[in-house]
């Protein structure tokens, strides 16, 4: 099998700035690189035709190919210390909440030489029972297990000790909640050789994994670890529960070597040792923080207010933050390069891979009246989603057989490229973090998705090229700005544009991004929302780590899974998560419409309303005589489809908003959203429920601005119909021309 994969260190760069490209090849000796401007990524023969523009650039290729591995799985890492090297007798203690006991050996805490295994480790053995192992430099090893499997998703105090004087190994597990007739407490002793010294090896302590000679970590623990501690003496197994709760600074703790308190620094990737030794560490691959620990009672749901109840970290064997590949080449964005969506195309023989990014205008400059706001947060939210291969329900909601393309087959066989908000971890827990510092294989031109409707079936990045292709057809100058630019730069990233054009599905928004867009509108900016289900979920960028966002879908909304109770606050920022609608900022306030339904089979046309004859809307329908709008298209055969937004004054649609057209009939694959389904009753499907529709909306905003919203993901798929000569393209173009006119509304 030959393959090229790659990713960039950044998703947006201005002329003169450098983008690092990391590449991994399988069975490819060398590859060529081209810089391309992405114009229209849809390869559907019924569409306008694939278009990219090669930008002459010397990358110095061909470039040698090499394999760069991905190491999945999170763990904590504490650098070696003389304190660890001095250990002879020792005791290890923690509270654990395992999620997959019995599925292979899983290490809770280890300090081992990666090659020889010299050292110790506390683990769940292959049966899921607690075990403790000590191995000496002489090759002598001893391991003792309680022999009693832990029960999944229950808290236990676990301890392992080695008495180097007596030559005794002990291990103990104690459930924090005991059940009658369930015998899951266990203690065991083993006489072994004395003096199995830990000294002289140079090895870090690992939490949730153990080191290996050929990769950074193996035998990852799945589940939560709370209050891990190490002593320089064996522990009294009868007192392990009490030992867990004594303050690490307590005078009774003279032999305490380390006591990590995970309730400190929840928003960081650092772990803090509260013992006098201060053996702090860091986390690799972003295990989940801000999760309920052993002390959580339900009394408080906000970890920022009672961090003590959130002293656990949830480790997964499939966590991934940053692949950490070495750079293969870099691109200094040419000073003359126009703003746009670009990619480096890596290719060898029949293999190719696109690493896309935005080239924004020079900093402080606006080179067009229009900015296309590339919804990179939403791309990350769907990064490498496994919707087509992990969920049986997908076929029902798309109303047709799932089609798997080459990328899906690759993802199925290579889960190491990581997960996103639409996936579950191997242990069944939900994914809260998604990163772009890894190959995002579904964010490429030419890619075909699963939810894009009968026809082209595009989603997110490639679906948005339908808009890029339309702008190109118009020869309309435009800049490209990304979500990350809004997040990091603020209003100055977009303040000079007369109008902002969104992507087809800008679903994920941080508070900062929303603030910036709203501020732009408040100062007279215009917004063309050419999508559906936008501004729906609140996300949080990490305050320190680049390229990763968090999303917890609290309360309700259409979601792959709910967060667990007590976990509705983002660990990155402490923000309350969930729908923007539940956070007091429904999308209707910004765009006039809000999410009401989804279905992914066929789309429907809009029918104009009487309000479309209002003189205020005359410019929108200039040259459009039809009452039916968009009964054609590449995304389900109609302009209203996939995900639908409707006006709703109760949710903030401005009272002066004009609902210009509405879609009238959708299939019964379309259902109402849970947040509108307070009291489920028959008639919730697209052929019956009045609420299931797209509303096309226009309204004026303060200081001469205006908003035009289509409330449909499928809209952009209709633009190119009949060589861009159709009523959807005409309406969109009419709006664009007026929105870039400086005359105030």
């Amino acid at each position: 099998m030959t393959r090229i994969l790659g990713y960039a260190d950044r998703i947006s760069a201005a002329p003169g700035e450098i983008i690092q490209i990391m590449v991994s090849c399988d069975n490819i000796d060398s590859y060529d690189v081209e810089l391309v401007r992405v114009i229209q990524g849809d390869v559907n023969p019924a569409g306008p035709g694939y278009r990219e523009e090669v930008v002459p650039h010397d990358f110095g290729g061909p470039i040698s190919g090499r394999h760069q591995p991905i190491h999945l799985g999170s763990y904590g890492l504490v650098a070696d210390s003389p304190v660890f090297r001095a250990l002879t007798s020792l005791g290890v203690l923690a509270a654990v909440w395992p999620t997959m006991p019995g599925l292979g050996s899983q290490t809770i805490l280890s300090r081992q030489d990666p090659k020889s295994g010299v050292g110790f480790r506390l683990l769940l053995d292959e049966q899921g029972a607690l075990a403790f192992e000590v191995r000496s430099r002489e090759g002598e090893a001893a391991i003792i297990s309680t022999g009693k499997p832990l029960i999944a998703e229950k808290w236990y105090v676990v301890a392992g000790s080695y008495d180097a004087v007596k030559g005794e190994l002990t291990v103990g597990q104690l459930p924090l909640h005991a059940y009658p007739r369930v015998d899951d407490a266990g203690f065991a002793r083993l006489s072994t050789a004395p003096g199995l010294a830990q000294s002289e090896i140079a090895a870090p302590v690992m939490l949730g994994a153990q080191p290996a000679s050929d990769c950074p970590a193996i035998q990852h623990f799945n589940g939560r670890i709370d209050s891990p501690r190490i002593w320089s003496r064996p522990l009294d197994l009868a007192a392990i529960q009490e030992l867990l709760d004594i303050d690490g600074q307590h005078s009774a703790y003279g032999d305490l070597v380390a006591a990590w308190d995970f309730s400190i620094g929840i928003s960081t990737d650092r772990i803090t040792d509260v013992s006098p030794n201060g053996l702090h560490g860091r986390l690799v691959n972003l295990p989940t923080r801000g999760v309920a620990g052993r002390k959580w009672t339900g009394e408080e749901h906000n970890w920022t207010k009672l961090p003590d109840h959130y002293g656990a970290i949830h480790f997964h064997d499939d966590d991934l933050y940053d692949c950490g590949w070495e750079t293969d080449f870099s691109l200094t964005v040419p000073e003359t390069l126009r703003s746009g969506v670009y990619a480096v195309r890596l290719h060898a023989a029949d293999e190719e891979y696109y690493v896309p990014f935005a080239v924004r205008p020079p900093r402080g400059k606006f080179t067009a009246p229009v900015a296309f706001l590339l919804p990179t947060a939403s791309y990350m939210a769907y990064a490498n989603n496994r919707i087509g291969i992990d969920f049986s329900e997908t076929e029902i909601v798309i109303g047709r057989l799932v089609q798997l393309n080459k990328i899906d087959l690759f993802m199925q066989e290579h889960p190491e490229i990581g997960l996103c908000y639409y996936d579950l971890h191997n242990d069944g827990s939900g994914v809260y973090y998604s990163s772009r510092l890894r190959p995002v294989v579904n964010m490429q031109p030419k890619n075909i998705g699963h939810l894009g409707g009968v026809g082209s079936n595009l989603w997110q990045f490639n679906a948005d090229t339908h808009i890029l292709g339309w702008l190109e057809h118009l020869a309309q100058p435009f800049d490209v700005i990304t979500d990350e630019d809004l997040e990091t730069e603020g209003l100055s990233a977009i303040s000079g544009y007369r109008t902002i054009i969104t992507g087809t599905h800008p679903e994920y928004y941080s508070a900062s991004m929303l603030d910036v867009l709203q501020a732009h509108m408040n100062q007279g900016g215009r917004l063309m929302y050419l999508g559906g289900n936008g501004f729906y979920w609140r996300v949080s960028y990490h305050p320190e780590l680049p390229g990763v966002i968090e999303c917890r879908k609290s309360e309700d909304g259409i979601r792959a899974f709910p967060p667990r109770p007590g976990e509705y606050y983002a660990s990155f920022t402490g923000e309350y998560t969930g729908l923007w609608r539940r956070n007091g900022r429904p999308p209707n306030e910004l765009t006039g419409v809000g999410m009401v339904s989804q279905g992914f089979d066929i789309s429907s046309p809009y029918v104009r309303t009487e309000a479309s004859r209002n003189p205020r809307a005359a410019f929108i329908f200039e040259g459009v005589e039809d009452d039916v709008i968009g009964d054609f298209g590449l995304s389900g055969g109609g302009a209203a489809g996939l995900e639908l937004d409707a006006a709703n004054p109760a949710l903030g649609t401005p009272p002066h908003a004009l609902v210009l057209a509405s879609s009238q009939r959708h299939t019964d694959v379309y259902l109402m959203t849970p947040e509108d389904m307070n009291d489920p009753a028959p008639g919730l499907g697209g052929t019956e429920a009045e609420i299931i529709r797209s509303d096309m909306v226009f309204f004026e905003t303060p200081k001469g601005g205006a908003v035009f919203s289509t409330g449909s993901i499928a809209w952009a798929g209709s633009l190119s119909h009949n060589h861009y000569d159709n009523n959807v393209a005409r309406i969109t173009t009419n709006v664009l021309k007026r929105f870039i006119d400086e005359e105030a509304f």
């Binding site: 559907n44 019924a46 969920f391 049986s392 047709r400 889960p415 066929i602």
Partner: protein, 102 residues
């Protein structure tokens, strides 16, 4: 068992599906489709793209991540509606124990 059981009374919906596999369906056909398209992921029929927008081969999903998708060689389609009808018949037989002869 509350899950809908397909019977001969549903043959008219099978005929409706044969006529139009993609698009608006009667409530009766939608109910049949919900039953046929439900069930576990493991072994679920999918279409594997051989050539985008042109040619597909029938496949079945594996139960676990990392395992390859099973390709049912020889069961290729040049037309999506034809593929839908073919899988509809396979599932009809699996649910009812009888061939769907329409």
């Amino acid at each position: 068992m509350s899950r809908y059981q397909i019977t001969n009374a549903d043959l008219k919906y099978a005929a409706e599906f044969k006529e139009q596999a993609l698009g608006y369906h009667s409530p009766g056909l939608q109910r049949v489709l919900n039953a046929l398209r439900g069930g576990p992921k493991a072994g679920k029929y999918v279409l594997v793209v051989r050539k985008p927008f042109e040619r597909w081969v029938l496949g079945r999903l594996p139960s676990v991540r990392g395992a390859p998708v099973e390709i049912l060689e020889g069961q290729e389609f040049n037309n999506l509606e034809e593929a839908e009808w073919s899988v509809f018949k396979l599932r009809w037989k699996a649910h009812t124990g009888r061939e769907l002869d329409l």
